[in-house]
């Protein structure tokens, strides 16, 4: 939601972008903005904020902050044990969260993609598993949106033409810039913040190491961008309502871009 505020701020300052490239939950935002405009996107996400908050709460490091309360800590251990059991035994559905509701939501609310023309071109970045390659697709169907949302291990890979795709967010956090040269490329960075790995068990150490690998790849991929608006922060640290997140993104972007001159 911070990135939606950031898009609005950038649009106010520099007009519409040439195109969007997104991965992860940002794909829903860019799809809406590119087909129906930023104002419509604001209305839509405000209306559906609570649903998305419930169904997209899949921050891999969210549970790694060691609570001081012993009862909660024990609950976390049970939770980890259950998660470990689940990831080691689920063979059919490779996602560990209840994805079905979110997937129906995407099909239902993003069906406009196939019947409209975009105001701004929008691309999404997904990762093809078999060839281990990042693929950029123009956002032309709700199924493609799902590929970009399939963050491992929460949501299962999405199959298109017998190929399985996951979100590029799972591998390197951000998409690579490969659509067009000669543009200024702004990265709205919402993925992970180094420096709070507070693991207590070997299971959590493994998860935070996976996260470190992803963040290291992200750090290297970020070199491709002209500048970065840092929108990272733990979800729980914020007030957690749509407007405050939107305003945070809007204000932070205005503050950041003051320092640079996109036109020069």
């Amino acid at each position: 939601m911070r990135s939606l505020g950031a898009i609005a701020a950038l649009e106010e300052l520099y007009g519409l972008p040439e195109y969007f490239v997104t991965t992860g939950t940002g794909t829903m935002i860019s799809a809406y903005c590119s087909y129906l405009g930023t104002n419509a996107a604001q209305v839509f996400f405000e209306q559906n904020f609570n649903f998305l908050k419930r169904n997209l709460a899949m921050d891999m490091l969210g549970f790694l902050t060691a609570p001081s309360n012993a009862r909660i800590r024990n609950y976390n251990l049970l939770n980890d044990f259950y998660t470990l059991f689940k990831v080691s035994t689920n063979k059919k559905n490779l996602g560990i969260s209840e994805a079905q509701r979110l997937l129906y939501f995407i099909e239902d609310k993003f069906s406009f993609i196939t019947s409209r023309k975009p105001i701004v071109k929008s691309y999404l970045s997904s990762f093809e598993l078999e060839n281990a390659q990042e693929r950029l697709f123009q956002t032309t169907s709700s199924k493609l949106v799902k590929t970009s949302l399939a963050v491992v291990p929460f949501l299962p890979p999405v199959e298109i033409n017998e190929k399985k795709y996951i979100s590029t967010q799972s591998v390197q956090g951000v998409p690579s810039r490969t659509v067009a040269d000669g543009c200024h490329h702004v990265l709205l960075d919402t993925v992970g913040k180094r420096g709070y790995f507070n693991s207590m068990t070997s299971f959590q150490v493994m998860i935070s190491a996976n996260e470190m690998m992803m963040l290291e790849l992200k750090r290297r991929a970020m070199k491709n961008f002209d500048f970065v608006v840092d929108l990272r922060e733990h979800f729980s640290e914020s007030e957690g309502n749509f407007l405050s997140l939107y305003r945070e993104g809007y204000n932070r972007t205005k503050k950041t871009v003051k320092k640079i001159n996109l036109n020069g």
């Binding site: 251990l77 980890d80 044990f81 470990l84 059991f85 689940k86 990831v87 080691s88 035994t89 689920n90 063979k91 490779l94 996602g95 560990i96 990762f127 598993l129 078999e130 060839n131 281990a132 491992v152 291990p153 890979p157 190929k163 399985k164 996951i166 799972s170 591998v171 390197q172 180094r194 420096g195 790995f197 693991s199 207590m200 068990t201 070997s202 299971f203 150490v205 493994m206 935070s208 190491a209 996976n210 996260e211 470190m212 690998m213 992803m214 963040l215 290291e216 790849l217 290297r220």
Partner: protein
């Protein structure tokens, strides 16, 4: 060692568990051609091999030390293989799951220290014949750190503490995880130490598949993809690049020591003949 043009050669040895024995084939080649690197860096198993070579200056000594070490760890190696392949008893599997969710590591805290101190004893960095550095991952920040002073065993333990099986290693006020988490082949660190050109030796195994046994299998596959992407980025700065991708040995088969060395020699001679010739022509005096 300097080349004809006065360039200093660095050797960066990558992470990869038991597959890291393949580095010995490269060290054998350098010894045969009497090429001595000026600097060595290593990540994880690459740090173990690199430290042993930096201390002894001989690939034969590295081989002997490793062989001796392996033959005394048969029980532990068997346990590791069975656990990874899911062939351990139900009681053992439950115990591993319990430790995974309760302890900071599956193995006991000093497990890796006790093993590696058998090889390195109280040797310090100042005792090495070739300047050496091991890379490890700062647990708090996720940054890669080069450790090049103090006791070798401490640095090598930090560099090899695979997240999950092994306990993070505390050195001073910092806790470290395996170097391979963020630096698969420490080429940049060899350049930072003073090398002008670096041989990057990669022993990882890029997998390709689209069917997965369960979510854990999928997570493992994605991690191997991340490793692959990191390594190609690491090797960009290497003048000479050696890959052992054709060697289909799993990272945990420490019992296949001899086969790994045999296979890696074949790969070096068959696939990297030109690369080895380039190194010989520049550095063999």
């Amino acid at each position: 060692m300097k080349s004809y043009t006065g360039k200093k050669l660095g050797l960066a040895l990558g992470s990869g568990g038991a597959r890291g024995f393949a580095h010995i084939a490269l060290l054998d080649f350098l010894d045969e051609k009497k090429i001595k690197p000026s600097f060595i860096t290593g990540s994880s198993m690459g740090a173990v091999m690199g430290a042993a070579y930096a201390l002894t200056g001989s690939s034969r000594a590295v081989k002997k030390m490793t062989h001796h070490f392996i033959s005394h760890q048969k029980k532990k190696i068997d346990f590791l293989i069975k656990s990874v392949e899911g062939k351990s008893s139900l009681t053992d599997q439950f115990e591993i799951a319990r430790r995974t969710t309760v302890n900071l590591s599956v193995m006991e805290e000093n497990y890796i220290y006790n093993m590696l101190s058998l090889i390195f004893g109280k040797a310090k960095f100042k005792h090495t014949k070739i300047p050496f550095g091991a890379v490890a991952t700062d647990w708090k920040t996720g940054n890669c750190e080069l450790i090049d002073s103090g006791y070798i065993v401490d640095a090598v333990c930090a560099s090899s503490s695979i997240p999950g099986p092994f306990h993070p290693v505390r050195l001073g006020s910092t806790r470290f995880l395996d170097g391979g988490v963020v630096r698969v082949v420490p080429v940049i660190e060899a350049l930072q130490m003073g090398a002008d050109e670096v041989i990057g030796s990669d022993v990882s195994f890029p997998e390709r598949k689209s069917n997965f046994k369960n979510t854990m299998d999928l997570i493992g596959y994605i991690n191997s993809i991340k490793t692959e992407r990191l390594l190609y980025s690491d090797l960009k700065d290497a003048r000479y690049k050696i890959y052992f991708h054709e060697m289909e040995m799993p990272w945990y088969r420490f019992d296949l020591f001899n086969e790994i060395i045999r296979n890696s020699k074949q790969i070096l001679n068959n696939i990297f003949e030109k690369e080895l010739n380039r190194i010989s022509l520049t550095y063999c005096i």
